[in-house]
Structures are given as structure tokens and as C-alpha cells.
Symmetry: C2
Amino acid sequence: MNGRERENMNYAIGIDLGGTNVKAGAVDKKGKILFKTSLPTEAEKGYEHVVSQIEQAIEIVIEKKGKPNGIGVGAPGVVDFKTGEVKSPPNLPGWERVNLKKILEKKFKLRAVIENDANAAAIGEYIYGAGGKTGNFIMVTLGTGVGGGIFFGGKLFRGETGGAGEIGHITINYRGRQCNCGSYGCIEAYVGNSRIVADTKKKIKIAENSVLLELLDGDLSLLTPKIIFDAAKLGDEFSREVIAQIGEMLGAALASAINLLDISTVIIGGGVSGFGKFLFEPLRASVKNRVLAPLRPRVKILRSKLGNDAGLKGAASLVYYKE
Amino acid sequence: MNGRERENMNYAIGIDLGGTNVKAGAVDKKGKILFKTSLPTEAEKGYEHVVSQIEQAIEIVIEKKGKPNGIGVGAPGVVDFKTGEVKSPPNLPGWERVNLKKILEKKFKLRAVIENDANAAAIGEYIYGAGGKTGNFIMVTLGTGVGGGIFFGGKLFRGETGGAGEIGHITINYRGRQCNCGSYGCIEAYVGNSRIVADTKKKIKIAENSVLLELLDGDLSLLTPKIIFDAAKLGDEFSREVIAQIGEMLGAALASAINLLDISTVIIGGGVSGFGKFLFEPLRASVKNRVLAPLRPRVKILRSKLGNDAGLKGAASLVYYKE
């Protein structure tokens, strides 16, 4: 790359800070990834090391693409979006309170915006994805946990302390199974990745003819949501039913949120959103059957358009989002 | 009352439009009721008659108290708050679409504000009641149905079409009993007045020693939520348990809303809120046990301060509420 190209680059750096990897990308205003790289987080070495990994990743991007418009970071756990402080993120031991915004702004003389990863996903969807059309949508991220964000009038609805959007902790069965949060019947306790795997393992013993068992070569410890999806695509009824039940339950939680908020567009991202029609058909049916009558013709359940790079794009979008 | 007092009156007219009665009141800026009256709605005579009852009630108030600052109307069902149009309210046959705002403004040369009664209750709580302190609260009205409203930053959160705040249609059990709305397990299907009465009737047969049976003189057709409360006050364990279960279930629905919105104050109004500590103790325990950890120390479940005249005060408050 020559100097002239560098100067003209109009892009943002997105940092997707995870427990395993620090992903970094150069993303332009339209959401195109111009360059990306990844370093190991090495969280066990403490926060100062993780910060230096982040800085190194940023340096690599700047070296390749020149000066960016700013730096956006999607971080796990609680983030004070005003101060840019990351508070005790899960999977990152030793981070009591780290003001990542200050550290990065001082080092790079660039504006840095830090958000928790669920909010970054919602903002990414607004800036680059399916949420920009109306500015009113509920974002849901299906992964280890079930995250979310509420957009209304083109703004992230943050609530009193920035914690709004906890779709995962809407109960669908008030005397149901206990959730990691301590409550009962939260949707996350049914459709979080590890619960999907654990539930499927329990049920599979009675599904002797399932293709799933073949795909696993009989080793249940290899089970992942992805393999359930693969079996569903191969026509496996058992796996399709597993996914359909996830759709039904998720639909119940979403209907509660839609009724409460009168926001009729939902965007689903995260790994399990890759279940495709096996998830979306029963999910849409469940929502339509459950929302109040005036909402039924308006409800739209969309899949995120940001794909595998949603984390990077969400982080980069923070640079372009104006509150 | 002499002429001078009349001229100096600084008050709003509130109209609480119900299926049985049109209640009208003169309410001052502090929420004090200066005068009130009531006319039969006589809904079966059609909308023109009901409108003339409303007009007559307003005339009575003006005759007594002089020219008001404006007129506020709380109407059942769907109201377009921008145009002031009341759309097909339940219990008021023949009202396809009636623009009550236009009719009243033309007749009285005064500003008129029309809202649905759940929104009016929330606005009343903000202007006159327990919601004014923070401007962030979830209003819940317990009656035949379970209504609600969301206040954030001193504004009613209306959603895309003005329908936000449907607390009653948050599900607590996605495979539970069917609700009038068609969905399953909505909190309204468990704690709406008629469901409370019907459920209690079913259970009472096994509660042979309940004071409730004495209070009813054995005639179950006389059962009302009020009598369940009376029995609870007299120490009846069966009735206390009925109310405690309502608290537990309502707490589950509210925890979902609190988690989603990050709004930590809830104000409970409507008839069943009169169950007092028998409701509020289990309700508070249920909410505290269910909301996410960072919310626990902040959560406040308050009883509406507007009392029996909440409908009138909510309607009058519309005149003083600025969006």
C-alpha cells in the first residue's frame, strides 16, 4: 500500500474484545471490512497484558490502513459508556475497573468509544445492518448468553443505568428452571448455547435413529449447536424439533418484549441465528400467535445481516453512531 | 361560591369515561379535587348520547368552578393521542371513531387532551403521584385487565404506534392458560379481576375452614377481590395465600419488564393494589428474587398515591403534562 492510499482511508477501527481473542478490523463507513487481524487475548496474564494486546492490534491496523476516524471497542460485561470504563468483565480476570477509553485516547490521540458487546451489536445493526431503516428495533444476540438492545427513534434505549435490553432475562416460565442470574425460567436458561447442548444430550438418548448420533460418531461430548443445525439440514426430524422448540420459546419472550415496547421489528444475531429457516419459521409463528392483535400485521423478525464479522462491525460502528 | 372565586380558579377538568359512569372533576395543579360529579354513561344509547353526557358533566363543573385551564379525558381502549380520536372502545358500542378532542374543543373553546385510561393513569402518577420524583417508572393498573405505562426521562414511552406499556401481556408461562388476547400465560390471564375471582372459586371448595365462606354466607356468586381482601385482614390463611400467589406471579412479569427496561421503580394502582401488605410483601420478594443483581438494591415497588380518584386525577393531569 502506498502513502497516498493511506492518507485517503476513511475508516474506523473496530476491536472485538473476547475472552480468547482480540479481533481488530478496519471497517469503512458502509460496513465493508478493509482489513482484519486477531491476537490471542491471553487473559490469564492480567489486564495490562490484555491492554497491550489491544494496542498492538490497533497498531497493526494503522500500519496497514493509515489513520482511522476513531476506535470502537465492544467489551464483555458492564461498560460505562460515558466514561469508557470496563467493569469486571467475565472471562477477563483482574479487570476491576479499567478505563479503556482514556488509555486508548492518550496512546493514539484518536477518539475511542467503548460499549458492551450487546449494545455494540445493536448499534452495528443500526449503522450497518437491518436496523437502519426504521431506527426502531429490538436486537437479540444468541450465543453463550442471550443479549439484547433496544433501539427507538434511532437511539439506543439505555434505561436508568445503561443496563436496558436484557432480553435474555425475560422469563417464559416463572416456575421453570433456574437461570445463572438466580431467577427462574429466563429465556437464556433455555436457549443459551450450553443449555441447548445439555438439553439435546438428554433428549437424544430417546432419539435412536437421529442422524445427529451419526454425525457425532456416538460421542456426545462433541455436540454443538452447529452440529444440531447440520443434522437438521440433512433432514433429521429430531434436530428440527429441537430447533423448533427453541423458536417457540424465544418467540414467547420476544412477544412479551414487543407487547411492552410497541416496537415491531426484531433482529436476531449471534451463532444460533444461523439455524436459518428451521429456527425462523417456528419463531415467527410463535411471535405472531402471541403478540397483541394490532401488532400482528406489523411484526418483522429479521436475521442480522452482519454475519460472522458482526462483532468487528458493531465495534467499528461506535465511531459513527451519534447519541 | 361568589364570582371572584370563580375567576381565580386555576384548575383542570378531568373526565373519567367508563362503560357505566362518566365521572367529572375539577382538579387543581397540586392534584386536589375541588369538586366532582358523575353521570350515567348510558352507552347503549349510542355515541352521540355519551358525548352529550360528557358535555353535560363538563358544563356542571364549569357552572360550579368557572373556566378551567383545559379538559383532560381518560377513555377506554385505543386512543390516538395526537388527533384525539377514540377508536372502538370496549364497552362503548357504536363508537367506530369519535374525535372527542375536536368535539370538545369546538364546543367549549378550551384545549382538550384525550388519552387511553392506562396512559392517563401513568401521566397522573407523574404529575400528581409517586412518579414525579424520578420521572422513570413503570405504571401498572390492576383491574378487570392489567394496564400499564412506561415513563422514562419524564416522558411517556409510547412505542411506534402509542401502544407501549402492555404489562398485562407479558407472559409468565408460555404454555400456560389462554388469555383473552389469544396468547398463553399472559399475567392478565392470572391476575385480572375476573380470573382472580374464578380461580378463587375453584380453590375455595378445598378450603373448608376459610373465613371467606362465612363472609359470603356460602354464596360464591358474591365473591369479589374486595371480599378476599376482607377475609385476609381477618386472618384467613386461604385468602392470604391467594393474594400471595398473585404477588408472586405479578412479580415475575414485573421482573421481566424491569430487566428489559432498566427502570427500577414500579407504581401499582387499580383496585387490587388495595390488597395492601398481603400483596406487596410477596410481590416485592418475588421481584427482588428475580431481577438481575445490579438492579436488586435499586428496585422500588410503590403503591399509587392517587387512591379512589386516580381516574379523575389521571384525566385532569393530561392538561398539565407536556410531552
